[in-house]
Amino acid sequence: MLFSAITEGRILRYEPASGNVTEFRKHTNRTNGLAFAPEGALYGCQESSRRVIHFADDGSSATTAFLLDGRYHNQPNNLAIDLQGRIWFSDPWSELRASGPQIFAALEHASVLRLELDSFRKLWSIRRMTYDTVAPRAVALSPDDSTLYVAETDNSPFGRRELRAYPILPDNTLGPHTVLHTFGRDYRGEHRGIEGMCTDSEGNIVACAGWRKSGPGPLVCVFSPGGAIIESHRVPFDQPVNCAFGDADLGSLYVTTAGGELYRVRNCGRQGRVLPTAKSSRSAQ
């Protein structure tokens, strides 16, 4: 199980058999969300460098496309890769300064973008997918790639925090979204919205949300594809950040926290999605 220690600029690797945690990558410049493509290539959202990068097996790393219609996009936060290998990523604004001279302004929108590889020319390009988001954060895909789930998460006072489902249309655009869930507020403040999520083998959405300072507290919730809350668990740590299924049977749920911890729920009753092909002998120069 790989997970990001974002502010430390590292990706760590937990090995279930031994329980050991080792350093998988260092100098990652605030890489946040990680995902494997169907053929096994690892990609990450390098927030401080405003790009999605590929971590090759030989230890090198290379950028994908970073321009949307000629402009540098914002700071990618989280990603999901579909069966065709297209990378859907959230591109919110960030209060944190990106690396280097501040000569490239942020986009005037914060959207979900999609990276597509022209495999013949070996060139990535970026397409804008959402036109109605202001704080996209977590992204996930239904197992059949027919629905994109987006968490709009602005935890500032009266910010919008909701889980949305966008139908992916045959013409490669998104249809109007359905709001599956909205997060409230009480006298202690906003209920923290979804920071990270994934889908299980049945297409349910497993989401990390909440915090101790308001509402029902830190939660891991399971939503049906239609938005019904079918499970909700208060977790014994503050601010769960992201989650993924793991272990040999994909029957354990791993959860990262804002405090830098990695938790595991064994035999959680759900199962992760199996990548369509095993990790291939992808060559890297």
């Binding site: 100098h27 410049n29 990068i53 790393s61 290379a62 280097g100 001279p101 000569i103």
Partner: protein, 298 residues
């Protein structure tokens, strides 16, 4: 006319307010690497983001010299007059031979790829010193092909005169950037962008560097950072910083500032008397005149 901030009376002897500030080029994405060529009377500089080395001849004009440049950054000449390049995105130091071919002088240290060479200077014994900040691995718009940082330090390297050895002479900087020797080459100044300071390192006979001394801490609230740095023949240090170019005496005290109307990235001495200061900014190249000539480039 120059806009000056005088901090001490000594500043007036170095820089005059009635000196011109001529903009000789504009339209760059990120100007850097200024270098005067005493052999043919031309001035070179780079546009890192624009991936070009430009050349300009007084009275004639500008042309593209090398493009693409693999995002070249700092430039200098060796003692034979060959152009030596701090190869930012190539992650190497490379040299242009008389026949136009390119030779790589440094790319790996102890088997690991170096970060991204930033600025470069040649000492009188022919050794080459360069700063190895990691900007091309992280900075937006300046990406190298391989973005992985392999070294666990960001330091200063020395290439031996025969080119056979690459030594890390400084390893305690965070983001080393500009570097320059005192006129007698007994001290190497290195600035650190992240720390906003200039350090002095005493040179040892074997070309290695002694322990760091804090030479000067940059101050000011205006935009601008420690980036390019050069030394004049009296040992005064010219360093980019908030508001423009900070002129610092050899004792480490700020003498004054030359205000530059754009974000200043580097400067170079030039013209036959070495009394012109060519200044690169994000978008432009400026030229002004000073009263004390600079340390010449080979």
């Amino acid at each position: 006319m120059l806009e000056l901030d005088r901090v001490t009376p000594a500043f007036a002897r170095l820089v005059s307010a009635d000196a011109p500030l001529d903009r000789i080029y504009h339209g760059l994405s990120f100007g850097e690497g200024p270098l005067w060529n005493r052999r043919d009377g031309t001035f070179l500089w780079v546009d890192i983001v624009g991936d070009t080395i430009h050349r300009w001849k007084p009275g004639v004009g500008a042309e593209v010299f090398i493009r693409p440049s693999n995002k070249a950054n700092g430039l200098t000449f060796d003692k034979e007059g060959r152009l030596c390049v701090a190869g930012w995105a190539s992650r190497s130091v490379w040299r242009v031979e008389p026949d136009g071919s390119v030779t790589t002088l440094a790319s790996h240290y102890q088997g690991k790829r170096i970060n991204s060479p930033n600025d470069i200077v040649v000492r009188s014994d022919g050794s080459i010193y360069f700063t190895d900040s990691p900007g091309a691995l992280y900075n937006v718009g300046m990406a190298a092909e391989d973005l992985q940082q392999y070294l666990d330090f960001q330091g200063v390297f020395r290439i031996s005169p025969d080119g056979a050895r690459l030594d890390a002479v400084i390893a305690d900087t965070v983001y080393p950037n500009g570097l320059a020797f005192t006129p007698d080459e007994s001290v190497l100044y290195v600035n650190d962008t992240r720390l906003g300071e200039i350090r002095a390192y005493d040179m040892r006979p074997d070309g290695s560097c002694g322990p760091k001394r804090l030479f000067h801490k940059l101050a000011g609230s205006e935009p601008g950072i420690a980036d390019g740095m050069k030394v004049d023949r009296e040992g005064n240090v010219y360093c980019t910083g908030p508001g423009g170019i900070h002129v610092i005496g050899s004792d480490g005290e700020l003498l004054g500032r030359i205000r530059i109307p754009d974000h200043c990235t580097n400067m170079a001495w030039g013209d036959p008397d070495w009394r012109s200061l060519y200044i690169t900014t994000y978008s432009s190249v400026f030229r002004t005149r000073v009263n004390v000539p600079g340390v010449p480039v080979w």
